[in-house]
């Protein structure tokens, strides 16, 4: 019952939970409900003729899952693969996609009043995919509509015919 009440509370107050992760110095937040699991990085199988941020595909318990390195996608200065590199497995509209990030920080609940609209800025992220900026004390969270971001045509994750 507890969990249900909590969700009810969240719906009424509009607060949602976000998984936060780091890319270089920036901190991002995505809707926790889209996250299926978090795994360590393992070298994927390269797919020919794919953009460089698409690292390839891995075997996730029998399912073939594409892996996107967000650091390459967002033009981070360095993209190292070490023991702390983390893959967030997302479940987006029945498609499963993994994203590589530097580290996962935590899960936090953000009430609507602490989310500010994002100003129009020139960025590698399609501005429509940024839902807003969450402020937590002196930290700034870039809240991303990950579903929209991943299904954007420039991600090349879906066929044109889809």
């Amino acid at each position: 019952m507890g969990a249900m009440e909590k969700i009810d509370d969240q719906i009424s107050s509009g607060a949602r939970e976000y998984l936060t992760f780091r890319l270089d110095q920036e901190e991002y937040g995505i809707d926790i409900l889209k996250v299926q699991e978090i795994r360590g990085y393992e070298p994927p199988t390269r797919v020919a003729n794919a953009p460089d941020f698409l690292k390839g595909v891995v075997n996730l318990r029998g399912t073939i899952v594409p892996i996107v390195d967000m650091r390459l996608k967002f033009n981070c200065e360095k993209a190292e693969y070490n023991a702390f590199t983390v893959v967030i497995i997302l479940n987006l509209r029945s498609r499963i996609v993994g994203i590589v990030v530097d580290s996962v920080s935590d899960v936090m609940e953000l009430p609507p009043e602490s989310i500010k609209p994002a100003p129009d800025i020139d960025s590698v992220i399609d501005s429509g995919s940024v839902v807003g900026l969450g402020s937590l004390g002196d930290r700034m969270l870039i809240l991303v509509d990950i579903e929209r971001l991943m299904s954007a045509p420039d991600m090349g994750l879906v066929s044109d015919s889809d």
Binding site: A48, A50, V57, G62, P66, R95, S159
Partner: protein, 720 residues
């Protein structure tokens, strides 16, 4: 009488009964589905989709019943189908009477099927009345049931009881009438749920609510074949057993003439007992001309103690003669097969895959251990290794079955069909060893049945017509299966009259479809997939309603497959069903290029050899050719096609693999041949997108993903 030869394939003496079970299950599902849809049908606003759906159910049951020679079922469902066809074409407005009669017919079909399933024992339920009512409705009449209020169709006859068995043999065989008191309960409404049980569970029997003398108690009159224990178990869902009292009720009242069966024989319980005790169950029932059996055996009532005390002894025996009833039949399929959701099997396969990988990892890590110290651990790991392999093998085998299972259904069907139509048909099968995923096999069977029937009915001409056209008297229908370019292709070919472009276009215009004479042949052929499209002049019970192709297309599309038609008027037609390899298992050859591993479908590999540097010559814009035994073949460097990074510059591709696809050969240049293995083909597109020159992916023993090459695409690439 036409002759049907079986030039290849498992011969003519196929025991069709091995497929009965599948048919019974399918038919049961179809009837259930139809019932559900009928119940949900909004009479005023019934849309085409719903009516088509119901129609298809009836059509499928009919098709199957005809194939297996259950003529009674086929006849009844054919009638249902005719009525539904008129509804579907909006020539009639659906009304409640139709729904009633269709539901009753579905029940009757079930009873007929149950009887067939039970080895054709017991009374043959007559369907004459249902057929009459359907015909009446179809011609616009009222088709009212003779006994309007009857919950189950009863014959209009007032007389001899055996006929009363008609639609509901369950009720007549070993039926017991009980009075059940439920209570005292704090909330007597709970007891009302029991009535729903009877409604929900087919074959359980009938229940009526009786007036109760106490407020906290409910009394029901029940007619059932179930035992007291079974009933109590069921009721326990709603009320506790202590509150239920079951007793045999008084002999039936006059109003139920239909069950006079028991009245005639000195008190129903005894009658049931006496024949249940008789060794050959069911047998004496069938020829029963009247009640001579009971009347003439004075010992019967006494033999089982007689009177109302008997029921307790009846119970165990009473079930035996009910063999043909749903209750009895249900026990059989349970023992023989279990239907399991594909997703569960998939999950099992994936989990076993993971297990194999974990096991391989453990084996790898334990190799360095000292056997003297870790003897027990190592023995355990060896056991684990063996068990894992066995487990993997068994799990894999759940899914794969050869196409011959499907193909062998057809010779008999074609034989009967050809005989009926007065045609001569040869049936040839090819590639029946092609293994196909069970899920696909199950789903492809119905569409194939339709296609083969169509070929026989519409494709192959009458013998005289064939002779006149300069062909041999006997037509040939060929069914073949093969792996092709990352797909499984099943073809149905006939050398009949082919499709008539003109007829199809005319028919399409008649139906108000948007067509023009400039349409390509392929587009014209696609028209025959429209629902209700048929160019056949006469609607037979074989085909011609135009339902087949629409079902075919729908079913195949549901499997992510495609249907292509190739036809030449006067020469025949070919329908190719192309199914994706998803879920299929394939023999693969793994090759190494740089540090990467790719899988080639073994079926397309012709040969491989080491190449000398001077054997390759270039032509024009740098295309490379190699001479293999007097034949020049284009060379494709996988390293370039897949942009494989090369870290070790010492190594280079010097192994050539000749592959053949779409009738052409090309040579693939690879670094090394790693081995052959069975691979489970995984779909790349479910989470990613189509990758050029790749048909799918698979998971290697070490858990890594390897891409499977689409040799067809590589061959086509070399042509441009």
């Amino acid at each position: 009488m036409a002759e049907t030869h079986h030039e290849s394939g498992p011969g003519g003496d196929i025991d069709l009964s091995q497929f009965y079970q599948i048919f019974f299950e399918e038919a049961g599902e179809n009837l259930d589905l139809m019932e559900q849809m009928l119940l949900n049908l909004q009479l005023e606003t019934a849309d085409d989709e719903e009516l088509n759906g119901i129609f298809r159910c009836a059509h499928s049951v009919k098709g199957g019943a005809a194939t297996f020679g259950f003529t009674d079922v086929a006849e009844l469902t054919h009638k249902m189908e005719s009525l539904l066809d008129r509804l579907r074409r909006h020539e009639l407005q659906p009304n409640a009477a139709m729904v009633d009669v269709l539901l009753e017919s579905a029940d009757a079909s079930r009873s007929l099927l149950a009887r067939h399933q039970g080895g054709d024992e017991g009374e043959v339920p007559s369907t004459a009345d249902l057929v009459r009512r359907i015909t009446e409705l179809e011609s616009g009449g009222s088709g009212v049931a003779p006994i309007a209020a009857a919950p189950v169709a009863q014959p209009p006859v007032t007389a001899p009881a055996p006929i009363a068995v008609q639609v509901a043999p369950t009720i007549a065989d070993g039926v017991r009438r009980l009075e059940i008191r439920v209570g005292p309960l704090e909330r007597p409404e709970q007891a009302d749920a029991i009535q729903e049980l009877f409604r929900d569970i087919p074959g359980l029997g009938d229940i009526k609510s009786l007036s109760s003398d106490r407020k906290d108690t409910r009394v029901f009159a029940v007619e059932t074949t179930s035992t007291d224990e079974d009933l109590l178990d069921l009721f326990a869902f709603h009320v506790s057993k202590e509150h239920i009292a079951i007793k045999e009720s008084d002999p039936p009242s006059v109003k139920e003439q239909g069950y006079g069966f028991f009245d005639g024989a000195a008190g129903s319980p005894v009658a049931a007992t006496s024949y249940a005790d008789d060794p050959p169950p069911g047998a004496p029932l069938a020829p029963l001309p009247g009640y001579g059996f009971f009347d003439g055996s004075p010992g019967a009532p006494g033999s089982s103690g007689g009177g109302a005390a008997a029921p307790s002894e009846v119970r165990p025996a009473a079930k035996v003669p009910v063999k043909a009833s749903p209750a009895g039949a249900a026990a059989q399929p349970e023992a023989a097969t279990i239907r399991v959701a594909i997703s569960k099997v998939d999950q099992l396969i994936n989990l076993v895959g993971e297990l194999v990988i974990t096991q391989a990892m453990l084996a790898q890590n334990s190799r360095a251990l000292d056997p003297a110290v870790y003897q027990q651990l190592l023995t355990g790991l060896a056991d684990l290794d063996r068990n894992t392999r066995d487990l993997q093998e068994s799990v894999m085998s759940i899914r794969m079955i050869p196409m011959s299972i499907v193909f062998s259904r057809f010779p008999r069907m074609l034989r009967d069909l050809a005989g009926k139509l007065g045609k001569k048909v040869d049936f040839v099968t090819q590639g029946e060893a092609t293994e196909l995923d069970k899920g696909l096999v199950e789903k492809i069977t119905d569409p194939l049945t339709h296609l083969v029937r169509n070929s026989c009915d519409h494709g192959v001409e009458m013998p005289a017509e064939r002779l006149a056209a300069g062909k041999s008297e006997t037509g040939t229908i060929t069914l073949s299966a093969s792996h092709q370019g990352g797909s499984i292709v099943i073809e149905v070919r006939d050398d009949g009259r082919g499709l008539s472009r003109e007829k199809i276009l005319n028919k399409a215009r008649e139906r108000g479809l948007d067509v023009s004479d400039q349409m390509s042949d392929a587009d014209v052929w696609q028209l025959i997939f429209a629902p209700g499209f048929s160019t056949a002049a006469v609607v037979t019970d074989v085909s011609g309603r135009g339902v087949g192709m629409d079902v075919v297309k729908r079913n195949i599309a549901a499997l992510n497959g495609t249907v292509e038609i190739d036809s030449a008027e006067g020469y025949g037609m070919k329908v190719s069903v192309r199914l994706p390899l998803t879920l299929a298992i394939m023999d693969g050859m793994s090759v190494g290029v740089g540090d990467e591993v790719y899988i080639l479908p073994l079926s397309s590999v012709v040969e491989s050899f080491q190449v000398k540097a001077d054997a390759v010559s270039t032509v024009g814009q740098g295309s490379q050719l190699v001479k293999v035994r007097d034949e020049y073949m284009p060379v494709i460097e996988l390293e370039k096609v897949f942009q494989v990074p090369r870290y070790d510059t010492e190594k280079s591709s010097d192994i050539m693999v000749v592959v053949e696809a779409d009738g052409s050969r090309v040579v693939l240049l690879v670094d090394e041949l790693l081995g052959q293995q069975q691979v489970v083909v995984k779909n790349l597109e479910s989470n990613y997108k189509k990758v050029p020159n790749v048909s799918g992916a698979t998971i290697l023993g070490d858990g890594k993903v390897a891409l499977i090459l689409d040799t067809g695409a590589l061959v086509r690439r070399s042509r441009h």
